[in-house]
Symmetry: C2
Amino acid sequence: MKEFLKTKGFKMTPQRELIFRSFFEMGKHVSVEELYDKVHQKDRSIGYSTVWRNLKVICKVGLAEEVNLGDGVTRYDRVTREPHGHLFCQNCKRLIEFDIHAVLPYLVETGEEKNFRADSFKIEITGLCEDCQAMENKKNERLH
Amino acid sequence: MKEFLKTKGFKMTPQRELIFRSFFEMGKHVSVEELYDKVHQKDRSIGYSTVWRNLKVICKVGLAEEVNLGDGVTRYDRVTREPHGHLFCQNCKRLIEFDIHAVLPYLVETGEEKNFRADSFKIEITGLCEDCQAMENKKNERLH
DNA sequence: TTGCAATTGAATATCGTTTTCAATTGGCCG
DNA sequence: CGGCCAATTGAAAACGATATTCAATTGCAA
Ligand SMILES: [Mn+2]
Ligand SMILES: [Mn+2]
Ligand SMILES: [Zn+2]
Ligand SMILES: [Zn+2]
């Protein structure tokens, strides 16, 4: 990792090491605050801006991407070889991923048709996840 | 329009009338600030918060939807019968629409598979529009 | 070891969004 | 036609996530 960062023009530091490690441990779709909480538990001296900056670094070196869902909080998603879409539960904010191989060619073609140079594709389905639907049903039952 | 608003529990006011009219005149993908500028030209007394609130009203009554592209500015898009996706130029912020009939069934199916109750579908392609590519090329030529 | 750019933490700035509050007004009812 | 009251308005302030500033520290190449 240190070597990898060097090729990208970044130094390794203890703070960066902990932040990177924590990010990759936490799995997908992490917000600055969530990562800060985790990192801060392990090292109370690490500041919020350092966590924020290092998430940007993780993106700059191509290991993650920002995900914006319009709820005012940017999440950071590990980059995987497989492009995917997101099901976003408006209630619990959970993100469920799904494969988009089937539709990607169509989107690529659409971009080409309009002479658009596409950098990235985003597919999001907003709604209510299975669990939150169940909770909603229970709540409605109680009203009878 | 006044009657329509009444059925939704809203009153008509001169400010609202002007804001609604201006919004529909401006076409698609309007930000609060853009609409405020336009409205403010016609009536210097109308405040920013009134414009903001009325855009929310336009959404509440189902005539528009918020569009979030991760650039920190919410845009308001007239609701049309036809679902569509967006090509978003990162340089000039222009939005180009495209039809998504072909991929919608796949997304609906995906939601069902995961027992997800889908409210809305969002498809965005980020990149550089034709004009901005041309500008970029010109700039690069000049460097030789 | 030295020099210097990169990094860090705290504080502060930014900026679009949202709320507060007092004053005004639309529209229903008598 | 008034009177009433909830809805609406405009200005100002609050919010909150993101981003920057700055002085101090540190990684690391030479
Ligand atoms: Mn993801
Ligand atoms: Mn649109
Ligand atoms: Zn949920
Ligand atoms: Zn452009």
